[in-house]
């Protein structure tokens, strides 16, 4: 009987702890979308050329449009993973779990009407969940960098 009570108490405690962790991990990302009057190709080229000017580099490029052409779907969409090893270091030093969001994702796509957009999640909104002052400071700097990149590429 005592054993059953202890087991139930332990399971309840575990459940509560898990729920608490799940609640802690909730956050709301702020997606920023910048419209461009340029063609998709021009924006992609501009982004590649401007990324260094904004203190970052393209770490990987995922051509989702080309990739999805293998399924017969036609669209223009390229995802860029952008970042900077030194800035990344400052974030990782605070919390290794930030690797889920770093390098940052910048997405260039054209809608069905052919209008081009540059889209990204504001770094401070996604890194804010870690509730770390140092990370917050770096994230706010990244907000400026990535915002500048998206705006300049779209112009």
């Amino acid at each position: 009987m005592t054993f059953t009570k202890t087991t139930i108490a332990a399971l309840t405690a575990l459940l509560l702890t898990t729920s608490a962790f799940a609640a802690d991990n909730k956050f709301e990302a702020t997606r920023v979308t910048v419209a461009s009057n340029k063609s998709f190709e021009a924006v992609v080229d501009a982004l590649r050329g401007l990324v260094a000017k904004n203190g970052m580099m393209v770490m990987a490029e995922v051509n989702q449009g080309q990739m999805l052409s293998m399924t017969g779907l036609t669209l223009k969409a390229t995802l860029f993973l952008v970042g900077n090893p030194n800035v990344g270091k400052q974030i990782f030093e605070q919390n290794h779990a930030a690797g889920l969001y770093i390098p940052l994702r910048v997405f260039v796509y054209a809608d069905p009407a052919g209008k081009t957009f540059v889209s990204y999640d504001k770094p401070s909104s996604i890194l804010g969940q870690f509730k770390n002052d140092k990370m917050k400071m770096v994230a706010e700097m990244l907000d400026k960098n990535i915002g500048g990149l998206a705006t300049m590429a779209a112009q």
Partner: protein, 223 residues
């Protein structure tokens, strides 16, 4: 070693080596390595070994060498018949993806960048090489038998594909059941077309692969 034993051994080795390329894609989807890695360490050496072994087989038994060559050519050409079914079906949305293109980006390790002319060439080359390999396997297995065994052979290859981890990796469930009947129907029809074309491209009765007594005698004399 007797000449017939040598022929049997060569036949076994040819069968094993011809089976390498078609098995590499499913193996990569089972997690044994990327298609790019497996192509480098297994497919390319197997291609070289197959060419070398075929040359040896031709010297030991011209009938065996001829069987391999006929099988390879017929298999590669029969892949065109398969393509005549597969490609229109893909364009009509009856298939979840363009498999040779997918194999190309995996072979060149450029999935993130999507297909290019180079990756399409690599993918289709691998696709047709697989066809040639199946042609060799069939010719070696069916030596001395009717060419029409190629039809159940083609269907068995299609069934094997449907049951393979490649189909699971496409995200369409076992035998493509989550995609709908069109996937299994297309794969089966395409492989039926492959089997029929393979049969028509081979002689009515495939020659039995035995050692050539003249060549064997000449070897004994020269030894």
């Amino acid at each position: 070693m007797g000449h017939d034993s040598r022929t049997v051994l060569l036949r076994g080795m040819l069968l094993a080596i011809a089976s390498v390329a078609p098995n590499v894609f499913p193996m990569s989807q089972m997690g044994y390595g990327s298609l790019n890695e497996l192509a480098t360490i297994a497919v390319l050496p197997a291609v070289v070994a197959l060419v070398g072994l075929t040359a040896t087989a031709t010297r030991v038994s011209p009938a065996l060498g001829s069987l391999v060559l006929r099988g390879a050519i017929a298999g590669a050409l029969a892949t065109l018949a398969l393509e005549a079914v597969r490609y229109p079906a893909f364009r009509l949305g009856l298939m979840p993806g363009n498999l040779p293109q997918l194999m190309g980006v995996l072979l060149l390790d450029r999935f993130a960048l999507g297909p290019s002319t180079g990756s399409n060439i690599a993918g289709f080359a691998y696709h047709f090489w697989n066809g040639a390999s199946f042609g060799i396997v069939f010719a070696l297995l069916a030596a001395g038998r009717s060419r029409w065994w190629a039809v159940p052979f083609g269907l068995a290859v299609g069934l094997g594909f449907l049951a393979s981890p490649v189909v699971l990796a496409l995200g369409v469930g076992p035998f493509g059941r989550d995609f709908g009947w069109s996937f299994a129907a297309t794969v089966t029809t395409a492989h039926l077309a492959f089997g029929v074309a393979l049969a028509l491209l081979l002689p009515a009765r495939l020659p039995a692969a035995r050692s050539d007594p003249r060549t064997s005698a000449a070897r004994v004399v020269s030894a």
